[in-house]
Amino acid sequence: MLKYMNAEFYKVTHRVYPAGFLGVIVGGIALIMVLLRQNAGPGASFDFMAGALCMVLSVGLYLVVITCDMVFSDQYKYNTLKNEVAYGLPRARIYLGKLIAAAIVSVVLCAVILAFYLLLARLLFPLGAATGETMTALGQALLVAFPLWLGGMGLFHMLLFLMKGSTAASIVYVLVVGVLGGGTLELFSTFLPRLRPVIEAIQVCLLTTPFDRLLSGGPSNGLIAYAWIVGMAWLLGSTALGLIVFRKREIS
């Protein structure tokens, strides 16, 4: 498995994709922060900027599409999986090796982006009155977000392996994560009140629900535990399903 992951890291680091992605994100952050600094009122501080970060952590659910794609690298489009299975690499190793490599790449990129954001915020804005508390809250919010990102990654990874193209997989992923979690179910329950208990049960399991609760109530130990249960359920469930189907998949 380590050899497999070593190869994946070699491939990713020899692409322009990660550097380009990082450049766009970091550039975007810098631009937004400079604009905010120029137009900021007297209350703007590092604490405010760090707190704002907690509000946008759900974006990570969509960024995993990019980091997974970086590692998966359009295997079906380029037909490169045949080189791996023909050599006798176990399909479970191929599936899990790419998933773990994608998770590590995501964590590294996420760490770089967060560090850059906080460093720039510290340079451009003065410290507030409750920096310690804000950083603790940010840490807790990250503990809520991390398992949900992993869950999203597990789901998208499964879709990449089971569907023919990355674009189709991305569309299905956004439909499952974004549309289901974006009030569509609420709409259903309005028109079909009898199904409300079922819809509520589904909503509890969605990857976006803990993020909604983070926005409305702030981080807590209970929310962290809930987020880990939801995230791990998605990760393990989708990985198990992906492995079962990929085992018999035709590699054309």
């Binding site: 050899k3 070699y10 491939k11 380029y78 490169t80 006798g88 590699i251």
Partner: protein, 307 residues
């Protein structure tokens, strides 16, 4: 008895209602070059893909290096090299980077392996050129380099000379013959270019509509393709006895249906006809026959078919 590297038993692949491969039995002994001969869609690629784990057989069994279970087969496949259909690599990586990626993935020791493989196929001077800019011939060479990188004991090659220029074909043939001679590499190769296959193969499998029609060695094929005079007579046993006694011809065979295939005395057919007429044997036809692999294959499947 020779060790068998690859054995398939009743190998079958069905896609919906279509039967791509129908109970194919192949036996490939160590050190042989096995030419898989068949038309487009006959099932050659599907057989190779099943051996290379790219497709799962509907039924039947693949045995590689004596291993049959899924896990043992996975291990056994690390002793093979495969090039199936058009070689596929990451377009944004160079030849070296692509091979280095697979070297790391497969845990093949020594970075020199990549250079050696590129050297073997004549791709050392591609530099920073990305795979996406390669010609078909270069892609084929890189595919072969990947197949050779782990010094395989069994090479699975599906239409490997497609896209190679004449010089490349000769180099490729010499390389395979050298690998086979020097390392006893066993090779399973399919190709449309039957004349090229005839330069390489030591045994053949003929496949049509998913069914394995016949397997024979190159010696047996040469025997069957020998130049001969085919005589259609009303009394083949008596005619044969006559030819042997009067003209001293012993190298012949009597075919079912009353024909005689005569493998000697071909330069003087008039002597044969004179003798038969003199002895009152009715000769309804006489034909000079000689076949190559292509002729033999066509006769086996019943002539040229057009899709």
């Amino acid at each position: 008895m020779a060790e068998n590297i690859l054995v398939t038993r009743g190998l079958t692949k069905r896609y919906g209602a279509a039967l791509a491969v129908d109970h194919a039995d192949i036996t490939l002994p160590k050190g042989e070059i096995y030419g898989l001969v068949g038309r487009n869609g006959a099932g050659k690629t599907t057989i190779i893909r099943m051996v290379a784990s790219q497709t799962v057989p509907t039924s039947g069994e693949v045995e590689l290096f004596g291993a049959t279970g899924e896990r043992d087969l996975e291990k056994a496949r690390s002793r093979t090299g495969a090039m199936v259909e058009i070689p596929s690599f990451y377009p944004y990586l160079t030849a070296r980077e692509n091979l280095e990626y697979y070297r790391r993935q497969r845990g093949i020791a020594g970075a020199r392996v990549v250079e050696d493989a590129l050297e073997q196929v004549g791709l050392t001077d591609t530099g920073k050129k990305k795979f996406k800019t390669f010609s078909l011939g270069m892609k084929q060479r890189l595919g072969l380099a990947l197949a050779l990188m782990n010094r395989p004991e069994l090479l699975l090659l599906d239409e490997p000379i497609n896209g190679l220029d004449p010089e490349g074909i000769v180099e490729f043939r010499n390389l395979l013959l050298e690998l086979n001679r020097q390392y006893q590499t066993t090779i399973l190769i399919s190709s449309h270019i039957l004349s090229e296959l005839q330069n390489l193969a030591t045994c053949y499998g003929f496949i049509d509509k998913g069914r394995m029609l016949e397997q024979l060695t190159a010696v047996q094929l040469a025997e069957k393709c020998r130049d001969c005079l085919e005589l259609r007579v009303n009394d083949a046993p008596r005619a044969a006895a006559m030819l042997e006694r009067e003209l001293g011809l012993r190298d012949f065979e009597i075919l079912p249906g009353g024909a005689i295939r005569l493998y000697e005395g071909l330069s003087e057919p008039q002597k044969v006809t004179r003798l038969l007429v003199e002895q009152g044997i009715a000769l309804s036809g006489m034909e000079h026959r000689g076949a190559n692999l292509e002729d033999y294959f066509l006769s086996l499947i019943g002539g040229v078919h057009h899709a």
